[in-house]
């Protein structure tokens, strides 16, 4: 029969019109909230789909980059663990088509076997790729504008065991051009998206037959990537199998039997034995003899000179025990040529192996210790390592070295020595002396020899295999699928992002809902009074109202879930089309997790219920007699009013004073690093203070009328005064309206003012462009120094055209793009190695934050300061560090170096909004120490005279075409990054604007309700002679005040909050769109007020008077 539930149901049914608005608010709030969460679901699911497309069935991968191992290793491990493993050769190259008309850089060129396609989600239609053919992915085919049977030219670097950075490395024949025919074009599902880097952007992929590519690159039987398919295994099992099957050849270690020398020698085609090899060789056998043979440009005694000689640094038996570091043993041939004898002092010049391949000749003097005959152990031509371009040369003229040979310095006698003895060393120095002169990042030994009488090659090979961790030479499996899923799981939280964007819209919907519900309850004040009079407790009445509210909130939540689906679809459409700059992909598909819908609905229900609870909690606290006597009339005592006024005044004063102090501190105190935060905090305080001041003002106006003297009353009592008095009559409603409009305009203005434009101030060193004209990326590394004459000559760059041009080159250790363009969480960000001095002397970029102890006057020098031996200091872009890496200044990140050792990178500084986004910058010296095989530079910041910028761009692009140079103006690059932030801000502005319009609709509701409640008194005013038009103006003016006060408080506070942004370089204040938004709100508020006033004052007002 009759129960509380019945009463709730009856009330819901009876007051459905009043509840409709509340329900609408609940639906909007719920739809926006759930929609935002669904956007998060959809982006995450889309990223997961893309991640699985790029990996296919791949679970683990072994990527050794520039180190090539036996491709047979794949079959050996696969046979052991019974899981498909396929070998690949993967190199980065460029592609061109139609005579260079179509061009693509950063193309992943892969040599694959048929097993590769078995890992695809969908196996392509072709059975195999014929030799001389290529399979392209859709993106590359589109970029090149080619179809099946068209020809394309791929330029790929030829793998070189010796780093191209080494001065001795040949510069010729560094790349190979492959003309191939397009056999097929594969879709994303057919593994076209294959790639190991976490990004939602598809790479350019070209696939060729493995054997054919190996042959073209002179690396027959070699691979540098293994892909492991699905199966019952894990990383540990794979590592065990790898340790069992790997061979020293996989680490590029060679063992040579030297019968003449009665020795077995460890050497490497990389020339220098790296640390891991050296350590393993030490343990491989007893009494290993270490050798370091290097190339001396010149050995001189007075005017006599011996050009271009091998010199071996060794111990016994080549050198007597106790030989000093400044002593040299000359071979008889060299001694004769120099006319040297024991005790003479000779000078030796050689090329120093520094960070880059810059040719720096150094000299050292030695005292001749003794002369040895060119026989026996001193006539051993195998002491010379396999310098590419020299070992196989028939004569000196055929030498193909990485440095210029002065052929006129080579005499027929020298030529004869080469003919007879090839690279047999002409001199010997102590190992310690040799390592001091020639030790470099690649290693400090060229071979180690063991006595063949006491060991065998097999024993040494086994010992190395046992002693050496394959990971120390980049042979280790990584759980790439697990990493990809982790990158997706930690990806940009679009759910949270869109909740943030939609925050004001949600708040506006909830406030509107609260306002409407409160108005509804106020209308039912007598009903509440009656229930209280009949003995209902306030709690019971509140529960009754909450019962109604919860039903509305529940229905709103459920309908909102449906609305949320459409809202999410709309947002995804926006992201894939209108706001594509923010995500860089259109591959976003709607995806809803059932639990998200449930959680979202419950959350919306709870939020709406709390909102309603807040709205009704005060309504039932008023005494029944008041509710019965006065209905909805807001009533309070003078004493209560005085207390409220005083409280509001105190809050206003405190907030505004604190705000002024914060502005003062930001401007004149501190180091300016936290100024932006202080200004924003001050803006927030001004907003709160402004709202509190508005509350105090409303109280004051209300009370002031009671204290006026007759004269004051006569002066103040006019139509405007009456309008203002009316506005303060419903103080809470008026304050709610002001608050809504103030908060909305604050957000819209504050957000709008943060839009960035890189064009402004792009030339300044302090700007996000660093003041550079261009940023360049190459596909193939550039080992030459483009700031030097030799480097420019190598690329045929004209001095005139390059006048005034200087470059800051960056070494690149590839990793995940940590810029805002990558939606995945960067697991190992890309590292850039730079000479910090080049940036410091330019004072480039503005630092947003520095770690403690970093000199703010020379922040780039912090890269040189070793924090401690295990940590490398790094600087990055503030946004990348915070958002893409999820770190902050002072934090560390773990990296794995080329030898498999984990090291830490500590972030010591962050530059503000720059083109450096996506990377971490470290000292070049530190980068090459950790990744010695990374050769050359692949990124450049370029200074060029503004008036010749276009000419410089064209010249450089043409000269470095084969390296795949892509030059972009720094302003354009920065704008591409800014577009992400600006797009997000636009999204926020659009949704915030919608919230503001909803807020102005709330104003209309307030006007309507106010006027409807006052129809009687307005009728009375008409009865005493006021014209209808005057009354309408009265109503509009009194509510117009609320609109103007709300907007003024919000806009002024926002301007204070974003003052640093307004004054910062690159700031682009969208005055137009802001003015339009605020104008729209003003007009919308005015229209709603006019409509509401007209509606409420329609018909015969006098009827209202009669009904009183």
């Amino acid at each position: 029969m009759m129960s509380m539930g019945t009463l709730v149901r009856r009330s819901l049914a009876y007051h459905w019109r009043a509840h409709l608005g509340v329900l609408l608010g609940a639906i909007v709030g719920s739809a926006v909230l759930i929609g935002a969460l669904l956007v998060g679901d959809s982006v995450r699911a889309s990223l997961k789909k893309l991640a699985l497309l790029r990996l296919g069935q791949t679970e683990q991968a072994l990527a050794s980059n520039d180190r090539f191992f036996r491709s047979a290793l794949a079959g050996e491990i696969s046979g052991e663990i019974k899981i498909p493993i396929t070998p690949l050769v993967q190199v980065l190259g460029t592609a061109s088509s139609r005579g260079g008309e179509g061009r693509a850089n950063k193309v992943q060129v892969q040599g694959v076997e048929n097993g590769f396609w078995e890992l695809a989600q969908k196996k392509p239609s072709f059975a195999t790729i014929p030799d001389g053919s290529v399979v392209l992915n859709e993106g590359l085919a589109r970029q090149l504008g080619v179809k099946e049977k068209d020809d394309v030219v791929l330029r790929v670097p030829k793998p070189s065991a010796l780093s191209r950075d080494a001065p001795l490395a040949s510069q010729e024949d560094a790349s190979a051009a492959l003309r191939v025919t397009v056999h097929a074009i594969v879709s994303d599902e057919e593994f076209g998206r294959f790639g190991l880097q976490a990004s939602q952007l598809p790479p350019f992929n070209a696939f060729m037959p493995l054997a054919w590519l190996q042959q073209k690159l002179d690396i027959a039987g070699k691979a540098n990537l293994l892909l492991v398919g699905k199966g019952e295994t894990d990383n540990a099992a794979l590592t065990t199998a790898l340790k069992k099957h790997w061979q020293i050849a996989d680490a590029q270690i060679e063992l040579r039997d030297l019968p003449d020398a009665k020795a077995i020698e460890i050497r490497t085609p990389r020339v220098f034995l790296d640390t891991a090899m050296a350590q393993a060789s030490e343990k491989a056998g007893a009494n290993g003899k270490k050798l370091l043979t290097y190339f001396a440009n010149d050995i001189r005694l007075g005017t006599n000179s011996v050009p271009y000689s091998m010199v071996t640094a060794a111990g016994e038996p080549w050198l007597p025990a106790g030989i000093k570091e400044d002593e040299i043993v000359l071979g008889q041939w060299a001694a004769d040529d120099l006319g040297a004898k024991a005790g003479d002092t000779v000078t030796m010049s050689y090329y120093f192996v520094g960070i880059g391949r810059k040719l720096e000749e150094r000299t050292n003097t030695f005292r001749v210790h003794s002369i040895v005959p060119l026989s026996g152990i001193y006539a051993d031509r195998s002491l010379m390592p396999d310098f590419p371009g020299m070992t196989d040369a028939e004569n000196c003229g055929d030498w193909d070295t990485g440095f210029p040979i002065k052929m006129d310095a080579i005499t027929p006698k020298d030529e004869k020595y080469w003919d007879d003895h090839k690279g047999t060393p002409k001199a010997f120095i102590s190992l310690a002396a040799g390592q001091k002169l020639w030790s470099n990042r690649f290693g400090d030994l060229t071979s180690v020899r063991y006595d063949s009488a006491s060991t065998t090659t097999n024993q040494i090979a086994q010992a190395i295999q046992q002693q050496m961790d394959p990971a120390s030479v980049s042979l280790s499996f990584l759980p790439v699928r697990e990493q990809a899923l982790k990158a997706v799981a930690q990806s940009q939280d679009f759910g949270g992002l869109f909740i943030g964007f939609s925050f004001f819209l949600i708040v506006a919907a909830l406030l509107l809902m609260a306002l409407l519900f409160q108005l509804g309850v106020e209308q039912r004040a007598r009903e509440v009074g009656t229930l209280l009079a009949f003995g209902f407790t306030p709690k019971q009445v509140r529960n009754l109202l909450l019962g109604e509210g919860s039903a509305i909130a529940l229905i709103g939540g459920v309908l909102g879930a449906v609305g949320g689906i459409w809202y999410a679809r709309g947002m995804l459409y926006g992201l894939a089309n209108l706001w594509r700059d923010a995500v860089g992909t259109s591959s976003l598909a709607f995806h809803a997790q059932p639990q998200t819908l449930v959680i979202g609905t419950i959350a919306s229900f709870i939020v709406a219920l709390i909102t309603i609870w807040l709205a009704v909690r005060k309504q039932v606290q008023r005494p029944a007699r008041e509710l019965l006597a006065e209905g909805a009339e807001e009533r309070r005592s003078t004493l209560e009013g005085a207390k409220k006024k005083s409280k509001a005044s105190i809050i206003a004063t405190v907030c505004i004073v604190l705000g002024v102090v914060m502005v003062g501190w930001a401007k004149f105190g501190g180091d300016g690093s936290g100024a932006a935060g202080l200004f924003f905090g001050a803006g927030g305080l001004f907003l709160i203070g402004g709202l509190a001041a508005s509350a105090a003002w409303l109280n004051h106006l209300r009370d002031a009328g009671l204290k006026l003297t007759s004269d004051q009353l006569a002066a103040a009592f006019n139509l405007n005064g009456l309008g203002i008095r009316n506005a303060v009559r419903r103080r809470k409603r008026s304050l709610a309206t002001i608050s809504l409009l103030a908060c909305g305009s604050f957000l819209v203005v504050a957000v709008g003012a943060n839009k960035l434009n890189a064009i402004a101030d792009a030339g300044k060193r302090s700007a996000g462009t660093g003041g550079f004209a261009f940023i360049g990326d190459t596909t193939l590394p550039v080992v030459q120094d483009l700031n030097m004459k030799e480097g420019r000559e190598f690329f045929g760059l004209d001095d005139k055209k390059m006048a005034g041009v200087s470059l800051v080159p960056f070494r690149v250790k590839d990793g995940d793009d940590a810029s805002c363009l990558n939606l995945n969480r960067a697991q190992t960000p890309r590292l850039l190695g730079v000479n910090p001095q080049l940036l410091q002397e330019r004072n480039a970029f503005t630092f947003a934050k520095l770690a403690e102890g970093v000199d703010a006057k020379a922040p780039w020098n912090a890269l040189k300061t070793s924090v401690n031996s295990d940590e490398i200091p790094a600087i990055g872009d503030f946004n990348s560090i915070m958002w893409a890496m999820g770190k902050k200044v002072g934090d560390t990140l773990d990296f794995r170096d080329e030898r498999g050792q984990v090291f830490k990178i500590r972030i010591v500084g962050a530059v503000a909004n720059s083109i450096l986004q996506g990377n971490l910058l470290v000292d070049e010296a530190a980068l090459v120490a950790k990744y010695p095989s990374e050769s050359g530079y692949r990124m450049f910041l370029i200074d060029a005279p503004a008036e010749r910028a276009e000419e410089v761009s064209a010249t450089l692009t043409k000269a470095l075409q084969n390296e795949g140079l892509e030059l972009t103006s720094t302003a354009k690059r920065l704008n591409a990054f800014n577009a992400v932030q600006n797009t997000y801000l636009s999204t926020f502005q659009i949704l915030g604007g919608l919230g503001l319009l909803l807020g102005s609709l709330g104003l209309g509701v307030v006007v309507l309700r106010n006027v409807l409640e006052r129809r009687g008194e307005l009728a009375l005013m008409q009865a005493v002679g006021f014209r209808a038009q005057t009354l309408k103006w009265l109503v509009i003016s009194e509510h117009g005040v609320l609109l103007l006060v709300g907007l003024a408080v919000g806009v002024v506070s926002a301007l204070i909050a974003v003052l640093p942004a307004l004054l910062s370089p690159g700031a682009e204040i969208p005055y137009r769109s802001l003015a339009l938004t605020l104008g729209a709100v003003l007009i919308s508020g005015g229209v709603w007020t006019l409509v509401a006033a007209s509606f409420a004052l329609r018909g015969q007002l006098m009827d209202g008077l009669r009904s009183e």
């Binding site: 009759m2 019945t6 009463l7 009903e527 009656t530 009079a533 003995g535 204290k707």
Partner: protein
């Protein structure tokens, strides 16, 4: 009145309202002392603004006196907290307002039963039967499933009377119950109140400025300058 303890006793009851700053407080009731016995029908009359409704609110525990004591069935209600007062109002007091204050969303029968929801314990068939019997008594049986909006002013007020009686209160307070009715309806309602007072044995205190209605009550008190003066009926 006999020696039986009064149902309601007012002792030195005063009520004043604070005025705007500087002005003297406004005294509505001054040292009112009164005993009302169980089953009495009392009319309180007086000019507009004399404090009749204020007195009724104090008697109905909807307002608190500034000073003095109100004893209801032997309990000093001025010492009770809000929850106890709500329970007292629910079980012991019925209200009839000048405006019926029926819930428009509920039927006639449901409106009558609304006060029973507050106690949450006695909404059995017996209560419903009592509601129906009372509605039948006031001639509204055929209208029990109608909405208040479908009733005349007099009918609505009769529903309000039944609602006031549903919890079998000891005291019914009526504030200008006929004020919004036409003369015929007013007379009918007055007659009904008198009859129910006798039938239900409920004490009735009625505030009115209609002298003819007051005269139908057993006792008439006039509020003059904040004090109650006994009038001959």
């Amino acid at each position: 009145m006999g020696t039986q303890a009064p149902l309601l006793r007012l002792e030195g009851l005063s009520k004043q309202y604070p005025s705007t700053e500087g002005a003297a407080p406004l005294y509505i009731l001054k040292e009112v002392t009164l005993d009302i016995a169980q089953g009495e029908a009392v009319a309180i009359i007086g000019p507009s603004g004399s404090g009749k409704s204020t007195l009724l609110n104090v008697l109905g525990t909807l307002d608190k006196p500034t000073s003095g004591k109100v004893t209801f069935a032997g309990r000093d209600v001025t010492q009770l907290d809000e929850l106890a007062l709500a329970a007292l109002r629910n079980r012991e007091i019925g209200f009839i307002f000048q405006s019926h204050h029926l819930l428009p969303q509920c039927t006639v029968l449901e409106n009558v039963l609304v006060p029973t929801l507050a106690s949450g314990s006695t909404r059995g068939t017996e209560t419903v039967a009592r509601a129906k019997r009372l509605l039948d008594r006031v001639g509204l049986s055929p209208r029990s499933n109608h909405q208040p909006g479908q009733l005349s002013g007099g009918e609505r007020q009769r529903v309000a009377v039944v609602r006031a009686l549903i919890n079998q209160p000891k005291l019914v307070l009526a504030d200008e119950p006929t004020g919004a009715l036409d003369r015929v309806s007013a007379d009918k309602l007055a007659q009904l109140l008198v009859e129910l007072n006798k039938e239900e044995g409920v004490t009735l205190i009625l505030v009115t400025h209609a002298l003819d209605l007051a005269k139908k009550m057993g006792r008439i008190l006039e509020l003059q300058d904040g004090k109650l003066v006994e009038k001959k009926s």
